[in-house]
């Protein structure tokens, strides 16, 4: 047997880190979507868990969903007759974000896992043009925060505009399974569904070509957690004395972040690929008082 060298050690660390992360992602996906039998009849889970939000994106109209989607719930409450702001959901998202930042995206978001699996399918891989990462902030401000409050009907109720006009997660997880099992819904399919189906198709092709295309370009929840990455308890630290500027971390990053230059980048999903590949152990992801390196 040949002796292990540094590169074997590096590969082993990377695999260990990725296996641990995948186990957490699959467990979170399973917990969020545990009512798989509902797909057969096309009904929704109606129990008490739906009073609580999922920290990641998971449509509450998905038959298997146990929890509520925070982006859908935020718009539903702020667009309702009685309320114009959702303190409960906004508070939940801020609390989760200030503790974990975008580690939620890297570890527990169900749609994050779906995108990572899609990216494994053989397809010409591309890099995203950097300017597109700002689209998600426009979607958050305009479709999630503004439109449900200002675009109301005569009863004072606003539509959940992001869900209605954009969200490919809802079309994939809720729309397609429900249309497949409900002939009466198929009869009312119109132009709006065609638009949303096109957005879904573009998103899926984007995810085949670009790692986490939806997270990078479109996700309003990722935009909120990304802003909170700057102050979150779980964060990245860089030992500049150890770093030899080899650039391996930047090359390895699925979100195109250079963690040495911008350890608090709003794009970093705290996946740990950079910390595992660094030959000098110059990067660490940790809570403020606890070292999880």
């Amino acid at each position: 047997m040949s002796a292990w060298n540094v590169s074997d050690w590096g590969k082993c660390m990377k695999i260990r880190q990725e296996v641990k992360r995948k186990i957490v992602q699959i467990a979170a996906f399973g917990f969020s979507n545990s009512y798989l039998c509902n797909f057969a009849g096309g009904q929704l889970y109606k129990g008490r868990w739906k009073q609580f939000c999922n920290p990641g994106m998971n449509c509450y109209s998905c038959p298997a969903a146990r929890l509520s989607c925070p982006i859908g719930a935020m718009q539903a409450v702020s667009g309702s007759m009685n309320f114009s702001v959702s303190f409960y959901v906004t508070g939940f998202v801020l609390a989760v974000g200030v503790l974990f930042g975008r580690a939620v995206c890297g570890f527990v978001c169900p749609f994050g896992l779906i995108q990572e699996l899609l990216y494994k399918i053989p397809f010409p891989k591309k890099k995203l043009w950097k300017g597109f990462i700002y689209v998600k902030y426009i979607l958050l401000a305009f479709f999630v925060l503004l439109l449900p409050v200002i675009h109301t009907n005569e009863l004072g109720m606003g539509a959940p505009a992001f869900c209605e006009y954009i969200c490919p997660v809802g079309t994939l997880e809720g729309g397609l399974p429900l249309l497949a099992t409900h002939p009466e819904l198929r009869k009312v399919v119109g132009a709006l569904f065609s638009i949303k189906a096109c957005i879904l198709a573009l998103t899926l092709v984007g995810c085949l070509a670009i790692c986490r295309f939806f997270c990078k370009v479109m996700c309003p929840l990722g935009a909120i957690y990304g802003i909170l990455n700057k102050i979150s308890l779980y964060h990245m630290e860089v030992d500049k004395e150890r770093c030899i500027s080899c650039g391996q971390c930047h090359a390895e990053c699925p979100m195109d972040v250079d963690p040495v230059k911008t350890p608090d980048s709003a794009e970093c999903i705290r996946c740990g690929k950079c910390t595992a590949c660094c030959p000098k152990e110059a990067l660490a992801l940790k809570f403020r008082f606890m070292d999880f390196r």
Binding site: K50, F87, Y88, A95, C163, G175, L185, F193
Partner: protein, 53 residues
């Protein structure tokens, strides 16, 4: 060991303030009954979510 200081006092203060505000918002939202509105929406098929809205 020269880990860069990720947490200056301003960052810590911001973190504490946001967390307290978030906890207060959640409590206020629960108190005024937002969970019921959310549950009502989440247990029925959301026509907007599925693209029929």
């Amino acid at each position: 060991m020269d880990w860069n200081k990720g947490s200056g006092w301003k960052r810590q203060a911001a973190r504490g303030l946001v967390f307290l505000a978030a906890a207060g918002m959640m409590a206020w939202g629960v108190y005024r009954g937002e969970m019921t509105v959310m549950l009502g929406k989440a247990v029925n098929v959301c026509l907007e979510c599925i693209g029929l809205g």
